[in-house]
Symmetry: C2
Subunit: 347 residues, 2 copies
């Protein structure tokens, strides 16, 4: 498997998308977020998605240079229409709008519709944290990505809806959560199948609600489903997926998850909270910093070297991969090279 | 174990608190919320807490008739100072303030400090749902209720911080989540010990990070701890607890969880979102309604009769218990009777 630098992957991705009609700005936005996913260690939402969006442009699902429009708004809220541009571009615009509103109204909440797949949710709330705000985001697929069974049920009823939050701290990294409500994301199951690996018990349900360790039961059989996290208390993962679906979809024209939807994409709930409306930013950061220290003061459990807080591992992985490069699966790399040859991009 | 009507429990509780100096209004607020917890099936936060707050008043920890004050505010935000009154009263005031702000500014976020234990978080967001809003709430103990180990660590570092949300629907009940980040709340472990029952594997860690089914390992040994939910992906429950701690504590003067805090209570994050700022309320309710139907359309998994959405079981339990009455543990009932005799309240 080849190891590439973040810089090289960015260049290839940006040129690919520009050859297909994307503006330099939107190509940069999308590719930066994909490469950031790899840097953070979330390869399932990294450059292996490059070709997914190439296919999206070619099929007409993704419209390069689409304009993101404000459909309705108040001082603190907005509903954005993405006009089926790159999902990443719509999501960045939504977070920027929420941040702008929070600057003026203390809080901003933005929902979106006509928004394509936005990738890793964790890429967006840190935009707010960088500006002295709390960033919160959730999503659904309003008909797409049905992959997870609800607690007590069988079959693909829910997407593995995600919740992401970020908070500035006085440490080197923000506290940043990126939580999928499935035990493991579908991308990880597909990755296991590609790598010829089994998956742990408790990730998947087969068609009858039974347990399996074979990733093919999910990847190749549409009756297999991801399980909500929680194990014996899987109602918690399932319940969280349900409320995130409503939060993301019902406040937007996109709607909640359903069967046989005519058009699908990501509905988003995007929130920024101005910290200075509650206390001086430096006090907030110091408070978060002491809390990080408190959590990390726990004695390690058997099998662990230390306790880490959300966002800490990604921060370390990013530092490491910026230096050492990013490992790209052979299959992904071959697809990227083929598309590059096809479009005259040097690799 | 005696079975009492909600009405009778309310009368006893209200008289008890009024004898101890509470106003009729605050006694009603607190006792209604306690009895609602029983009605909803959450006995661990029901009338078994009546005496906890009696003791709180007697020790001076809870100050009856304390005034809830606005410490700082913007059009959309407020920080409330509870002046150590009943936590339930402070929390109701916080949700009312958030709702009022959302009426005018589309969104309201309120944090609190000097706030005593607020009980079951799920009791508050439905106040917003009843008024055509989304209600969201989280809490921490800013030094109290340290009960849970973080992922990868041993010992009581975090409270089992909770997240509660409620959304209006066109069904008979709102969708209402009330999620503790521990596999099971400490109250359930204490209840198991009182009832002489073992608890399931995976609820608790002993002093060395090992597994146990003995509730005494937690109740009587301060080195035992609750485990974050998630099982093999317990970093999810732990991560959620960490971000809820920050959301609730760092935006308030109360602060995040820590060791050896001088004063403790509940810090709260309380949010109301005006649905009409995004779409007509009836459309939102219908969307949530169709989503409820979609989730419930799943074929039941082995061992289940049907799929339920968050809030549905509590709704049914409430209907049943309003008719059949509430079962009160002998130990709890004896304590209530003793306090009633002591204070001249008829039981």
């Amino acid at each position: 498997m080849p190891i590439l630098s973040a810089e090289e992957l960015r260049r290839i991705g940006q040129e690919l998308y520009q050859r297909l009609g994307a503006s330099p700005e939107e190509a940069t936005t999308v590719v930066d977020l994909l490469v950031e996913s790899n840097l953070a260690g979330h390869d399932s939402h990294g450059v292996r998605r490059l070709l997914q969006y190439v296919a999206g442009i070619r099929s007409g699902k993704i419209v390069p240079k689409a304009k993101v429009e404000i459909e309705m708004e108040t001082a603190a809220t907005a509903v954005l229409k993405g006009n089926w541009g790159f999902g990443h571009v719509t999501a960045v615009e939504a977070m920027k709008t929420a941040i702008q509103k929070a600057k003026e109204a203390s809080i901003g909440i933005v929902t979106v519709y006509q928004c394509n797949h936005v990738g890793r949710l964790g890429g967006y709330p840190p935009m707010a944290a960088c500006q002295g705000m709390v960033g919160i985001m959730s999503n659904n697929g309003h008909g797409s990505d049905l992959s997870m069974s609800p607690w007590g049920g069988v079959g693909r009823i829910l997407p593995a809806n995600c919740l992401a939050m970020a908070f500035p701290s006085d440490h080197e990294f923000p506290v940043a959560l990126d939580l999928t409500t499935a035990v493991a994301a579908g991308g990880k199951v597909r990755l296991a199948l590609e790598r010829g690996e089994q998956i742990p018990e408790g990730w998947l349900s087969d068609a009858e609600g039974g347990s399996t360790t074979d990733p093919a039961v999910y990847v190749t059989d549409p009756r297999g489903s991801l399980l909500p996290f929680g194990g014996t208390v899987g109602h918690k993962g399932s319940g969280l997926a349900v409320v995130l679906d409503i939060l993301s979809g019902a406040l937007s024209p996109a709607g909640c998850s359903r069967m046989n939807a005519e058009v699908t994409g990501n509905a988003l709930f995007v929130q920024a909270i101005q910290i200075e409306s509650f206390k001086p930013l430096e006090e907030f950061k110091a408070e978060v910093g002491q809390f990080i220290n408190h959590v990390k003061s726990a004695a390690p459990a058997p099998g662990f070297d230390e306790v880490m807080v959300p966002g800490e591992r990604s921060y370390r992985t990013r530092k490491h991969r910026l230096e050492e490069g990013i490992l790209v699966e052979d299959a992904t790399w071959e697809q990227i090279c083929a598309a590059a040859r096809d479009l005259g991009v040097k690799v």
